[in-house]
């Protein structure tokens, strides 16, 4: 059963310099208990996509079009109050940099306890024992003491564990992970990934795992979606996409990680395109090794081929 379905989502930033089309007509869905991986270079719109599911986009950014259906409700149509009830309770999020996503002047335990305050009308002081249990669950050592620590007293890994405990506190149906490990040391990355897998099993939640680390995604996700310049270029089961990439961009991404250590960004010749004035036709064509005459003229549509979706002229138009 589908827990989340996103249809033709467009998220634009209205800047003085022009309109940045960060997410430009993206559709996908997440099944119950499934992990969907979203990969792409920085600036491909994956983080904006993650934030817009919880409607955390701030002006000048705006969701301009599309539907986000969660358990039968279109989140884009909910009132701010209704949306607030979903945040943290039904859908939660873990962010990229634990150093900046925690309030520096508030004790960590209290920040976690706020989740209960927001959704169970509980006073912060009365739920501290629950926070201690949560901290135990995410393997924070000495939890009784740690709840009274300030963020800067904890290591990066500990902070991320605290943020994860916040995200799993109310047993949400869907957890969005926005590059949860990229700000951490390599050794700690693995621990955090294992913890996340454990949490997922325990809660039987669905996950959207955003990362530029394709190898990591290939290990833990069920489905994989590759984004380029605000658009989906390829989307299908992880195994197939990873073993037999169809889109030249996916292919290049996968090739690049074979040579480069996995904690660095895969590099591809050329630069990511401007999202204010994206290239005509296929947005990838200026960097594409397989481009031919129509690539810079018409934009390819997302077609289904061998049970997966690809947006590339190499595979012709859908009948």
């Amino acid at each position: 059963m589908k827990i989340l379905e996103v249809r033709n989502l467009k998220v634009y930033y209205f800047l003085h310099r022009g309109i940045v089309k960060a997410v430009d007509g993206v559709s996908f869905s997440v099944e119950e208990g499934e992990i969907l991986g979203i990969a792409g270079e920085s600036g491909s719109g994956k983080s904006t996509l993650a934030h817009s599911i919880l409607r955390l986009i701030k002006p000048p950014g705006e969701i301009v079009e599309g539907e986000i259906i969660f358990q039968g409700k279109d989140l884009t149509k909910l009132s701010e109050d209704e949306m607030r009830e979903i945040r943290g309770r039904d859908i939660s999020m873990v962010f990229q940099d634990p150093n900046t996503y925690l309030n520096p002047i508030m004790k960590v335990g209290l920040q976690v306890a706020e989740v209960y305050e927001a959704h169970q009308n509980a006073k912060i002081e009365t739920v501290l024992d629950k926070v201690v249990n949560l901290f135990k669950k995410v393997k924070i050592t000495d939890p009784e003491k740690r709840i009274y620590s300030y963020p800067h007293e904890l290591s990066g890994g500990m902070k991320q564990r605290a943020l994860i405990s916040m995200a799993v506190a109310l047993k949400p149906k869907l957890i969005i992970l926005d590059e949860p490990t990229s700000a951490l040391d390599v050794t700690i990355q693995l621990e955090i990934v294992n913890l996340l897998k454990e949490m997922k099993e325990e809660l039987n939640a669905s996950m959207i795992f955003i990362s530029h680390d394709l190898e990591l995604l290939s290990e833990i996700t069920d489905k994989l979606m590759i984004m380029y310049a605000g658009k989906v270029v390829e989307y299908g089961s992880t195994k197939e996409v990873f073993n037999n990439p169809k889109h030249p961009y996916t292919e290049a991404l996968i090739n690049s990680i074979k040579y480069i250590r996995k904690d660095t960004l895969p590099t591809i010749e050329g630069e990511p395109p401007s999202l204010i004035n994206p290239p005509n036709g296929c947005r990838f064509h200026p960097r594409c090794p397989k481009k031919f005459d129509i690539c810079d003229k018409t934009e390819p549509s997302l077609i289904t081929i061998d049970g997966r979706k690809v947006s590339c002229h190499l595979y012709g138009e859908e009948e």
């Binding site: 309030n103 989740v115 927001a118 300030y150």
Partner: protein, 313 residues
Amino acid sequence: MSLARYIARRLLQAIPTLFILIVFMFILVRVLPGDPARLIAGLEATEEDVERIRVLLGLDRPLHEQFIDYLTDILRGDLGTSLKFETPVIEEILIRFPRTLELAIVAELLSIAIALPLGIISALKPFTKTGALATITSLLGSSMPIYWLGLILIYVFSVNMRLLPSFGYGTPAHIILPAFTLATLLMGNLVRITRASVLDALESNYIVTARAKGLSERIVIYRHALKNALIPIITISGLQLGALLGGAILTESVFAWPGIGLLLLDSIYSRDYPLIQGIIIFYAVILILINLIVDIAYAFIDPRVRISLWKSE
């Protein structure tokens, strides 16, 4: 325990600053062209008068001797004797200073009371009437000749409306106009700083986390954004107390407020050099102390500083 060490270290750091100021004052009076004794006595004074002052101030002795005397006197808390009042300078200062402090503190509180809400509202709702009012306040505050504003306030509230006394010291009514005048000096900066730090806090990532938790906007703003924004605001408004003591010179002149600023002006008009020198050194000591207190207060408010400070030492 280590807080004491921190304070001690900061006090130690203040010593060279103060020493340079004392040297500066010494040089200013003695090394600049012209005969200080003649300057003090005035152009119409007789040669004997000038000589009398020269001996009285020790200006007839070699410079290095003068400097050592001057320094040891200051270290003993002796700022010399006023030529006009013929009393120890420090006594005069200690009578006058509390009144200036009173004025400055009331002005500080007043400017915070006005600027803080304006700055916060203009950050949260920039395109409202309050937002516009904040912009205007901030601009007028930085462009206002406060002595002129003081006179205009006297004209409106004392002369025309007969609501408030125009000058003097004593009752609570006396402090209203001068404190408001002086508060204007801070208001512009304070509105701007408040708005900037609230905007800064609202842009922070921990605000996104707070929202993602499902907290109500009220809690997000009060508990997370404003609390963080208050740290720089408190620090800076504390440091501004120094600017207020400077502005108090003008304000006290307008309202005949018998504080240290008026004393300084009187001493300048009557060329009471020991008094002038004493007041400026006193000002420096007070301002260095204020900076120190603000730094320590800052360490108390911000847990990041507090812990790094007390652990590292």
